[in-house]
Symmetry: C3
Subunit: 185 residues, 3 copies
């Protein structure tokens, strides 16, 4: 069975596209962060999500690996979507979400990046009053998408997996969902 | 001796530039796809090129590796040009042409990407009536070249090889050929 | 302790930003090229910097590895800044400054790229009469920065390190230094 990684920056609409596409497809949909949290809790390392960041790099790496391994194992029985980020934007820079040791365990078959134009993402973030987040400038949004493309090609070189970019423009949700379904079938 | 990988998207003119440059240079010019086909035929896996796509991923990987190894071995006696693609555009996304296990066997010394402006490539494809291909939009052509640059830098990080970009503009073939010759000498 | 790699193309002002930022921080500041030269001299391979380029690829690789290892060892006692290049622009193309075998030994924790707009870099190079260098065109400067971003994300995928981009615009040195200090603290 397949392991497909789906990623998009905040405001790309990746979760919306993915949920709609999965209505008619047989995929187990897991969030990589959730799996990591679960494993760290089982290992008695943390109680809640906030404490995850305080783990030492060595422990974080171990949890990351175990999460990847557990996802790969589940794929023996079912197709799996891994909902995650290509890179996480931190004050120290872009942190790769799927470094080599994760890819070695996860062995993904496909990457799908959901993108939108920078100004669409900017407007979606401004309109989303449910979250307070630091507002990024247009050029920072464009840079984040550029870095995600670059890192996804490094992931592809390491794994042999394909990288599909699906555009999710305003008023184009149906088309994006259809693209996603075709790529998952 | 050297193993040099040359790649360019359809319409970049990579084959034209390469053939002209090789008129006065001592290089064995191999097409990676041809070598794979030959090896798959020897292994009694396929009869023709079309069947190659139907091989299981595991078998494809094995054939890819053997092709890379056989090319590297030939380089003990002669300089070799490997004519291939950085990424192949498929309905499932960009497929890396030289994933890690290929690079480990091939050990390329140099990558050369032949590029042109997106609109030049578009017009060349429209004018080329010898092939029927799905027409890509300008932004898709630009994206493909961007992804090839990104993946070539991942290949470089894995191998230590240099990445040279040679522009092949309209009415500029002589200059491109000269650039190519300088990079191959 | 941390190993932080700082890089920027000529004219980005990386050395200026770095020196100012380090005035108030405890970091050992090493130049990767200097460490390589020192090691090659100890191994009786070369006498001066110019001879470094004439080493065989195999010997260069060995020197590169030893330099990386020696830097990582020093990081047991102190935080280290490694001043180097993501890629070196050569007549044969972009040469990766930190290929896999270097990263495996160096194990960097963070990458910091210093960038400026292409036209700012062009004007700084023209004004710098202390060095004679081949003048690159604006598009070549932009390409070099794009390739450095791409290769840095490949380095990130291989190491798990973060990649921070710090912009160093004209009349903005104080801000760039402040950004650098925050990323190094």
């Amino acid at each position: 069975m397949k392991v497909v990684v789906v990623a998009g920056i905040p405001g790309s609409g990746s979760t919306t596209v993915l949920k709609k596409a999965l209505e008619n497809l047989e995929y187990l949909h897991v969030n990589y962060g959730d799996v990591m949290l679960e494993i760290a809790q089982k290992m008695d390392l943390v109680e809640d999500r906030d404490s995850m960041r305080k783990l030492s790099p060595t422990l974080q790496k171990e949890v990351q690996k175990k999460a990847a391994k557990s996802i790969r194992e589940k794929s023996e029985e079912t197709n799996i979507i891994v909902d995650t980020h290509c890179t996480i934007k931190t004050p120290l820079g872009f942190l790769p979400g799927l470094p080599k040791w994760v890819l070695d365990e996860l062995q993904p078959d496909r990457f799908i990046l959901i993108e939108a134009d920078g100004d669409e993402i900017l407007m979606r973030r401004i309109s989303d009053t449910s979250r307070t987040r630091d507002m990024e400038r247009l050029k920072d949004i464009n840079l984040h998408q550029e870095m995600n493309r670059a890192v996804s090609m490094a992931y592809a070189a390491l794994t042999g997996a394909t990288v599909k970019i699906i555009e999710n423009h305003n008023d184009g949700l149906d088309e994006s969902v259809e693209d996603m379904i075709k790529t998952l079938e």
